[in-house]
Symmetry: C2
């Protein structure tokens, strides 16, 4: 290892992952029981340590895959937490990421192995260190982002109904929305393909399924379009 900066302190780095899911009723977080000291046994975000030859994003991807089995899902850097005393064991700088996943896709066995549980964001247990801060920031970020980018779809199955989509935004913003206005607005953007099929699992009449069309979105964006939902 060549050392261009030999006099400077090396420090311990971590990545922590705020993982969101949506079960058609509530927005949820995937939390683990921490299995090492300090803070062993406390609720915690899933985390890990980036290797010397591993980018931060790759480390976050690895951590996410370790717990959920998922790859190529929405994953974005949130914030770097670097207060000196944030981890009482030792000085650790943690880069927090947040992820949006389709809740039906995660790997149940891995979750079980890690003693992880889905917890509603409305009722989060006490978390280790400053993980609660991370969660709060992730929630604020998600709420800001979901207004201006079509990321809600990351939390829904490939095919979803209009009431499902509306329910998601209601869960994110903790606010009831008017279904006529919601539907009008979202369809007017022209990002959804309406399918022939209906989903009858939650009503007798059945609700039409839609699919988000990323190509249309990209095309519109390149023409200066901005996604916007005002909840």
């Amino acid at each position: 290892m060549s050392l261009f900066y030999p006099l400077e302190d090396r420090q311990l780095l971590a990545v922590d992952c705020v993982i969101f899911g949506f079960d058609n009723f509530e927005l949820k977080l995937l939390l683990i029981k921490r299995n090492m000291e300090p803070g062993k046994g406390m609720w915690s975000l899933m985390g890990g340590f980036p290797k010397h030859d591993e980018g931060l994003y790759q480390a976050a991807e690895r951590v996410l895959k370790q717990l959920t089995g998922l790859q190529n899902v929405y994953l974005e850097q949130l914030f770097a937490y670097g207060e000196v005393g944030r981890d009482p064991g030792e000085r650790v700088v943690s880069i927090a990421y947040y992820s949006l996943i389709k809740i039906e896709d995660y790997d149940k066995d891995l979750v079980k192995e890690n003693f992880a549980l889905w917890q509603p964001v409305s009722d989060i247990p006490e978390l280790v260190f400053d993980h609660r801060q991370m969660v709060d920031k992730a929630l604020r970020r998600l709420r800001r982002r979901a207004r201006i980018q079509p990321i809600g779809f990351e939390l829904l199955p490939e095919k979803f109904t209009m009431p499902q989509l509306q329910g998601l935004y209601e869960a994110i913003y903790q606010k009831e929305l008017d279904k006529r206005n919601f539907c009008k607005k979202i369809l007017s953007m022209g990002l959804l393909d309406k399918l022939e099929e209906k989903d009858k699992s939650s009503s007798k009449k059945g609700a039409f399924l839609y699919r988000f069309n990323p190509e249309k979105y990209q095309e519109l964006v390149s023409k200066g379009f901005y996604f916007s939902l005002d909840v």
Copy 2:
């Protein structure tokens, strides 16, 4: 030093600072000539290494003060850059911050010592490593923030005129604004105190001076107010 996580790699951390100023014509960046290898002699952001017993934010404050002499100015974390090869000398994870300063307040001697220069954002020289990425992200962030938070005032003197303020937003968004609409909108928020004095430095008639009132802003925010400027 107690080691709770003894097996994990320690890594080299840095902070880099994107420093914005406004000279009544253009938005500018304070850049230095890098004085160490690798990349010695190239244009660069001002940076430094957090100490073991120093938070990331404190490190960024220190770096900012080293170059400008300023403290207690707007300083916000931007992003953590952690690609393996981003610094060809050695693996360094850099936490970028961006700062908004009143351009008349900086310490000229310090800037000279560091071989630093104010460069217009419209014409940024080639920068070392991934600093150009940092600058671009800082600009996007500034543009987003300045719409929804009253941070523009950080770039202006305590007292400023309406044309000055408008000029600032025009510089940030690279777009001409209608002075009637601008004035109407900004005054309607009730965040500015109009002073008796006029500034005659840029016209014969003179323009009234205003002052941003942070107390009023806080009060409005606590009542659910959102700053918004649509440029």
